[in-house]
Symmetry: D2
Subunit: 148 residues, 4 copies
């Protein structure tokens, strides 16, 4: 595993601040469970209100958590005062998203001045057992100032 050198000594507080600034995370019940330079893990409990027609969590909701995990992992390596936005992501759905709780683990694959690529996996936790439910690769962009 690569070791990354954060450019922002205050990256933990800065990343947590961006995460806390996302109302969608509160709405979906998503929280940070691990945060290192280039690596972030999130957690979300099952909620029937976020299910699709079979009772599994909607693929888009799983993707919302994966995208945020990627964004936060990328953000830990960005310079102070950066803004971050998602350029693109792809999700492969691998198993039904059924479980009591879900874990989302993202890692930076390639940091860059402008673009950062991350990979993330979603796991369903049921009866103490974890199942891989989805995989994402995504591209995040750092905006030094408020323009694109």
């Amino acid at each position: 595993m690569l070791r990354f050198e954060p450019k922002n000594p205050d990256y933990r507080a800065a990343t947590t601040r961006v995460f806390d600034g996302q109302p969608a995370m509160r709405t979906l019940g998503i929280s940070i469970v691990a945060l290192e330079a280039g690596e972030v893990a999130l957690s979300m409990p099952y909620s029937a209100s976020l299910a699709q027609q079979s009772g599994f969590i909607h693929a888009g909701i799983i993707t919302t958590a994966l995208d945020t995990a990627c964004g936060m992992a990328a953000f830990t390596l960005m310079p102070p005062q950066s803004e971050i936005l998602t350029v693109e992501f792809k999700t492969n759905l691998l198993n039904p998203a059924k479980g009591e709780r879900f874990r989302f683990a993202a890692t930076v694959v390639k940091p860059g001045r402008t673009l950062t690529v991350c990979e993330a996996k979603a796991f369903a936790m049921q009866d103490g057992k974890e199942t891989l439910v989805a995989a994402m690769t995504g591209t995040l962009m750092a905006l030094p100032q408020r323009d694109r």
Copy 2:
């Protein structure tokens, strides 16, 4: 534009039933605004509770609506008694998802017995003007029986 021949004469009712069976759609305030064989449009009002840190709708929420639009468009062409699941999708985020309301238009690009590929676009509507905010290509799978 291709004209598609639905295999299920009752495709409108069947597709609406699957959509209505998704609690996530109610939670996010998403509704069907158009439904033809191979083409579906959804609508969602802006909600601050679904925003990311800049007040724009979270890319994952936009993706949730795009994925459902693709799934419903694909489902209109599937035989009666099919079940549908998402195999994969990719979203490119093109403009900030800011607006009073959002529209999601999906079209089947290639129907298939097992796999169907759809394209979908998300538009933000503000002051009577539409802006393209995201584009998805996704693969949906028809399950004839309850196994994969």
Copy 3:
């Protein structure tokens, strides 16, 4: 269809120059058949030497032509002296790539100062009939100077 305003009045010559600078295009027999601001079409004859195990053109070769079509379409809208590189692309394979000749049509979906998103389709031509064989969405990046 969007009308695009090229920033480089000499965009035709500039784009053709970049295309001609790619040895891979000559190796694969790919040529430009149409070139407008934001839109490019390429053509490639069938070659058994580029086939996979069933005699169809390899998905990666189809992707090579689609990626170049996207890159050239994006490049037509970039300022003079730009360099271009591919950030990412996704290809959905829709039908077997069998035919006498192939056509690749790319369009810019969203131009940008740094990132441009394009869509492209590959068609197989056989006995005067065209079949859609693949669809790509890709992200291209403009480099103003020789750094990333």
Copy 4:
């Protein structure tokens, strides 16, 4: 790392046979360097005839090798008499593909009766040093008989 149980006791010979049946692999100079159940590595020397305008190997050629690596990794886990085809893949380009030789390592992430998802990475080798140049996630499909 997951351990996979091949369904075809003869998977090595069967996979090698499919690989050898691809003229495109000979044309591009790609060979198998490792082959286990669920894991395949390929190798390709640099060739100026496969370069884009900066002398780096074209992203589509890198993708051709990654797709084949994914296909072969997926095929090792398929039952005897299967046919395989690529459903879709996405490539993120991470660093310029410059080097004396390239290595492509694919792993099955999720095997399935119909669909198998693989991840692959491309590395450039120069002066004894390896650099990650691209990452792919792809979906492969097993066809039990000659129909889709």
